[in-house]
């Protein structure tokens, strides 16, 4: 089959198609000047620094347009928050403040009243106050024009509004259409509210001379055949933020560009600003700043001294320009310009300065990854669509017949009765419970898809209930919003409303979702939301959510709320609420890590898409989303055996590991490609299973540290400048370096091995061959069955090397410890275990051990002495690589252990120590 053509870019808006973006991007910085009104700066009782801000250029014209500035310091963290809102909002409309994203546990460290007492004066920048916060961090607030400099360890890290792009379009009543002077008509004198907007616009069009009063696109906008009524007019916000001393910024997913974000302003740059607006993009294009399925308005800057970042907490459509600059002292800068259509200006400045501190800080704001059940980290098999129960059975059996492990079989939209979610196509899936039980007999799970569009069919219980309860999003006229999606005419539940989310969660109860069992989990697709006949395949911005909130205010949160509601349902369906949920979503926002996994959407079965999976997943990872993956094989098209093999090899070392295919694609279950592909794919999947203990430990550690599971090299080697833009290699935790092969017929690749400063050692995980760090890179052979992965010298990785059909069957299996020694013969590693499925770990029922090798002694100690989980697993084998000296004997509790030493590989294998992982012990190499 011919691969579907790439996305039709003209279907989607650019900055130029949107008046708010145009206005901000072309802001006349000479004319505007926002300043703190003299004498208004105070510290509130809660310890918030507060002041009034006005635009000097318009204050005379609109004296009521006063803004309220707040500065807060997050307790125990190097985070300062700057929030700007309207002081005198209009009675009919409030600016939207993003909710349910920040952790409720955030506390603020009050500023003392004296902190603003001392007003300094800078020769050029005028008056300022210094606000100390966190550890060695300081925010310097300049008053006129308003500007915020954030320092850490005495270094200037982030500067806001040094370019004077601060802009805040105060909400206003709609200006009266000008009275046509030649022919005034008193009958057409419209009131401000409730008047047909189009009519007004038409009048304005007749009066071109009056465009100075109503700018183009401020009170109404059109894109293609779609009309945006914009009843509240212009209300955008904009701010320039410069990162000082850096040449690399990252994050703000989701885009298909490189990990190190590209400049969008400057000579020979044709790409527009990065856009954040959740959209259903059919086969997205690569290396574009255009919007994709999810949005995280969080940018990270890293240089040799510090890791800092900015969270722009806004759920409306947002554009971000990036350009290279120089600070006045000659340091390089990344100058960014943030533009949002609506909402409060709410900015968090995180100033690290270390990577570890930085990710702890971000975790304080939006939380860490929900610990998945172990099965969710195993291999998932999906396709649009497995046709019927016989097909499901055959695919399941196919894995066993070919000795390929897998854990989850997925059903796409065709399993439903006419795309009515929570129902089954009775002829193809007459016995869904039995089908799930058959899988469960092999300890396998099933996932079905449940999308947010609800078929408008009065015989469909979800629809009739949602209608009668008034749970749908409304159109601008107040009727249930209707759009076109898979089932035809559909409506969309208002998931921003807690009551709707609770109701939705109830739908997953076993007695409501007929045919579901406790081994069934959920997939949320199309939750941008996708509306086939809507503007840009999404919802109209003037659609209405509860409380008069426009869709434009919450668009980027819609999918997040939906994901949240489904996840709630999967928890609540069990009486004891003690089964960890698994829900995969396509749309996301900051904080989605607390809810579940996401994948990168509708990629293509092409080498270029395999290549781009790495930067895309890394961009998500640095922005806090660790449980992510790209569809193995690519959603569209027909990848050949080689591409499939390479994709499985890469996917096996990425967090969410799922094979998926489009309806029109040929069947591509792992064994269908024949040899040598089937064996190479089997090896890749089996390898994933052997490393499951590492993956599980890393997800646990994410909840302690906030550090991404899949990491850019700079996270592990933060001072090696040459690694800062590398995105074709990545780390799994701190111990594995992965270099996917992403080109056809690539018989060898160059691998950069980090750590030149300290003679870092690396060990090929297949051959145990030792390498030393190489900035220039080493050329290694990559026959079809080989993707280069290295264990970092100095790390200990627990593995389970016995192959099983699915991950739950490995639960009792013994571990192998693989110890890769640093050049100075040291190593350490951790192992987290629990029951692999319940929430009991939250009550301390887990085990967290540390293995340490030093001075020829390997010790196992308890990192969580109060934890209660008592695994019975033993260690069946210890492999130490990079060991320069053969020991004469090895003992544990003075009992000798059998071992083998291979001089050429510097490899020691200890045979059957049979030590329990739950006990403290130490093994001596004599």
């Amino acid at each position: 089959m011919e691969v579907a053509q790439a996305v039709d870019a003209s279907k989607f808006k650019t900055c130029n198609d949107l008046s708010f973006c145009r206005r901000n991007r072309n802001l006349d910085t000479a004319a505007h000047k926002y300043r703190v009104v003299d004498g208004t700066l105070t510290v509130t009782a809660a310890g918030i620094v507060q002041g009034d801000v006005v635009d000097q250029s318009t204050v005379d014209l609109y004296p009521e347009h006063v803004l309220r500035l707040e500065i807060m310091a997050v307790k125990g963290s190097n985070i300062v928050r700057m929030r700007v809102n309207e002081k005198n909002p209009l009675p009919n409309k409030k600016r939207y403040q993003v909710q349910d994203v920040l952790l409720e546990t955030i506390e603020y460290e009050p500023f003392s009243a004296s902190s603003i007492k001392q007003i300094h004066t800078d020769k050029q920048l005028g008056q300022y106050v210094d606000l100390a916060f966190g550890v060695n961090a300081k925010a310097r607030l300049y008053l006129s024009p308003i500007r915020l400099d954030v320092f850490v360890d005495g270094r200037l890290a982030i500067v806001a509004n040094s370019k004077n792009l601060f802009n805040f379009e105060h909400m206003r009543t709609r200006p009266l259409p000008p009275q046509p002077i030649p022919n005034p008509n008193p009958m057409q004198n419209p009131s401000i509210e409730g008047v047909d907007q189009v009519e007004q616009i038409e009048q304005q069009v007749e009066q071109p001379t009056t465009t100075t009063i109503v700018e183009d696109g401020t009170w109404e906008e059109k894109f293609k055949e779609h009309h945006d009524s914009k009843p509240h007019g212009p209300m955008s916000i904009g701010l320039d933020i410069s990162f000082i001393g850096t040449t690399n910024v990252y994050g703000i997913p989701e885009h298909s560009t490189a990990l190190s974000l590209r400049s969008t302003k400057g000579e020979n740059i044709n790409e527009g600003p990065y856009r954040l607006y959740n959209l259903d993009v059919f086969e997205f294009e690569l290396d574009k700043t255009t919007a994709l399925y999810g949005s995280i308005p969080f940018m990270i800057s890293h240089d040799q001294q510090k890791t800092v970042g900015v969270l722009w907490l806004n759920a409306a459509e947002t554009f971000i320009d990036i350009s290279d600059g120089k600070y006045e002292d000659g340091q390089p800068t990344k100058d960014t310009h943030w533009i949002s259509e609506t909402g409060v200006m709410d900015v968090f400045f995180l100033v690290g300065p270390s990577v570890a501190e930085f990710y702890k800080q971000y975790a304080v704001l939006t939380g860490t990854t929900a610990l998945p059940q172990l099965f969710a980290l195993a291999y998932h098999q999906c396709r649009w669509n497995y046709r019927d129960e016989a097909d499901v059975k055959a695919v399941d059996q196919g894995f066993d017949d070919n000795s390929i492990p897998y854990d989850v079989l997925w059903l796409d939209i065709e399993h439903t009765d006419g795309k009515r979610y929570f129902t089954w196509d009775k002829s193809n899936f007459p016995t869904p419970e039995e089908m799930q039980r058959r899988l469960a007999d092999k300890k396998r799970k099933m996932v079905t898809i449940v999308d947010p569009h609800i078929k408008r069919d009065s015989n469909y219980y979800i629809h009739s209930e949602a209608t009668s309860k008034g749970y749908y999003v409304k159109n601008k006229d107040g009727n249930d919003y209707e759009g076109w999606c898979w089932p035809g005419s559909s409506s969309y539940l208002d998931f921003t409303n807690k009551e709707v989310r609770d109701w939705w969660a109830q739908q997953f109860a076993y007695d409501k979702y007929q045919g579901s069992t406790n081994s069934l989990y959920i997939w949320n697709d199309m939750n941008e939301p996708s509306v086939f006949n809507g503007p840009e395949v999404s919802m109209h911005k003037d659609a209405l959510h509860g409380g008069g909130v426009e869709h434009r205010d919450v668009h980027n949160l819609y999918g997040y709320y939906y994901h949240m509601a489904t996840t709630q349902g999967i928890i609540e369906r069990n009486a004891d609420k003690n089964d960890r949920p698994f829900v995969l979503s396509r749309a996301f926002f900051a904080g989605t890590q607390r809810i579940g996994a996401i994948w990168t959407g509708d990629n293509a079965g092409q080498w270029s898409h395999l290549e781009s999976a790495q930067p895309m997943l890394l961009s998500l990872a640095v922005a806090g989303l660790s449980f992510t993956g790209a569809d193995v094989g690519g959603f569209f098209g027909n990848p050949d055996g080689e591409l499939m093999t390479r994709w499985f090899q890469a996917g096996a070392f990425q967090p969410f590991f799922r094979g998926h295919a489009h309806l029109d694609a040929k069947r591509r279950e792992p064994w269908l490609f024949g040899e040598p592909y089937t064996s190479a794919i089997r090896d890749a999947i089996v390898k994933r299973y052997t490393y499951l203990p590492l993956w599980y430990t890393l997800f646990h550690e994410n909840s302690l540290t906030g550090l991404p599971v899949m990491r850019p090299l700079w996270v592990e080697f933060p001072t090696q400048q040459s690694l800062f833009a590398v995105d074709n290699e990545f780390m799994v935790g701190s111990s594995l370096l992965v270099r996917p092969v992403t080109q056809a017929g690539q018989s060898s690749v160059k691998v950069v091995l980090p750590g030149t400063e300290n003679k870092q050692t690396w060990f090929d995980i297949d051959s145990d061959k030792k390498y030393f760090a190489s900035e220039a890179g080493v050329q290694v052979d990559t026959p079809l069955d080989k993707m280069p992965v290295y264990q970092k010298g100095g790390s200990i990785v627990p593995r389970k090397e016995r192959q099983r059909r699915s991950s739950p069957q490995m639960k009792a299996d013994p571990y192998t410890l693989r110890i890769a020694l640093s050049d100075d013969q040291k190593a350490s590693g951790t192992l987290y275990t629990d029951d692999e499925s319940s929430f009991n770990y939250q009550k301390g029922d887990y085990s967290y051990r540390q293995f340490e090798f030093a001075a020829n002694q390997l010790t196992n100690t308890n990192l969580a002495p109060r934890s209660t989980y008592q695994p019975n697993n033993t260690i069946e084998r210890i492999v130490i690589v990079g060991l320069k000296q053969k020991p004469s004997s090895i003992t544990v509790n003075n009992q000798p252990l059998t071992f083998e030493y291979e001089k050429d590989l510097e490899r020691l294998t200890i045979r059957k120590p049979d030590l329990q992982i739950k006990n403290d012990w130490s093994i001596k190499l004599n």
């Binding site: 000795s403 300890k443 192959q803 544990v892 045979r911 059957k912």
Partner: protein, 495 residues
Amino acid sequence: MKLLFSLFIIIVAFIAVSQCTKDSGNNNKNKLSPQFGVPPEKLEYYKGETFTCFGSGKTIPIDYVNDDYCDCPDGSDEPGTSACSNGQFYCKNKGYKGQLISSILVNDGICDCCDGSDEQSGLIKCQDSCAELSKEMRKAREEAIQKYTTGLKIKEEMINEAVEILKTKKEELEKSRKEHEPLKQTIKELEVAKEALEAKKKEREEQLEAERKLKEQIERQQNETEQAANGDTQDKTAQPEETNTNNRTIYFWCRWRNWNDTKCYQPKPKEPEDPQLEETKNGKIHHRRHLHFIYTHLIIFCFYYFLFCLKIVKATLLDTLQEMVSAAVDVISQYLPQSKISELSKIEEIDRELREKNRQLRDNIEQTEKLEKLLITDMGPDNVFLPLYGRCFDAPTKDYTYTMCPFENSKQGHTSLGRFEEWGPNHSSMSFTNGVQCWGGPKRSLKVQVECGSENKIYDVQEPSKCEYSMKFSTPALCDKEHLLVLQLEDDHQF
């Protein structure tokens, strides 16, 4: 008190020590026999003081066998545990049949052997289901034996049938080949005859053309003479026009009716007394004849149209058209001069015959090719599949009826799923390719899995990938005696 305290210390120490021994001596707890999980034919290798790995020749103490640690790269030292993922475990399955399973399945909490021997570690308690399985197996085997017995009987019939069919087909081919040359010869002769007639006809037409030109010349001269005689007056000018009209009508008529009519090429000088009367009379006659001509044709046309409509039902469009044309020519030729009729009808007759012979030739070639192709098509041992040729099998499903005609084509309703392309290995499958193009997909294709059955039928139609179909075809033709013997032997040799 002191004593109690030391006792306590001793107990604590004892517990601690036993804990340690437990740690290191775990393997001694459930020590398996080295022969556990070994298939009977390999038992002897597991009885010595040492064990030699099958693959590598590495020798290990017998204690290392089944000690839950993988020593042999080929996994042969752990037949009874899951320590080597590439090993195999033998379930004895007393009361049923012995079975080798992958070591992956050993001690994983799922009962794979009917005797439960694969789960000795205690993760799960397995029920012994061997007796039940044995019963099922016996039943299944009996059914299979029944199927094979019936199938083989029918297969025998099919083979006999195939002999007959083959004989007939060979004869047909021979006949077909024989008919080829005579047909070609006849066509050649007819073409020669036709050429001759056409040449004659052309000659005649040329002659007529020359005559017509001559006539025109004469007329022109006559007109010129008359014009010159009558001068330039007004009522005189009307005269030649009328004459011209007259002449045109005559000419038309002559062309159609009778070239020998003297009027046609020997126009009489005009009657000067009553030219108007003559003109009116001629006009009326001509008019009436014209009408007659048109009506007759209209009726004939309608009649033949009716016939034509009738024939459409019966014959192919082309044939009917040909017949209609020739029939129409027949009718028209009735109105043509006799000599003309004979000439034209002769040509038509030859044409008709030529068409007929050409059609026969085409059919003959087609038939020959078809038979030749059939006779070189792989019809299996003893041409056992030959009786399936020309037959079609249907499988109705919820949405469509699928049809498969072996060696020819396959359909989903009226949509072609492809024409027969080739056999798979050992006649285990047939592939049909080049069906109707799928929207946004490949051309439809079908893979038919062939298996032994007591009757010829298709079932289990699937579409594993878009527009790539599969179905099963059970046929006695694929039943083999050896398999039946094996089944019967197994049946006699119960555990």
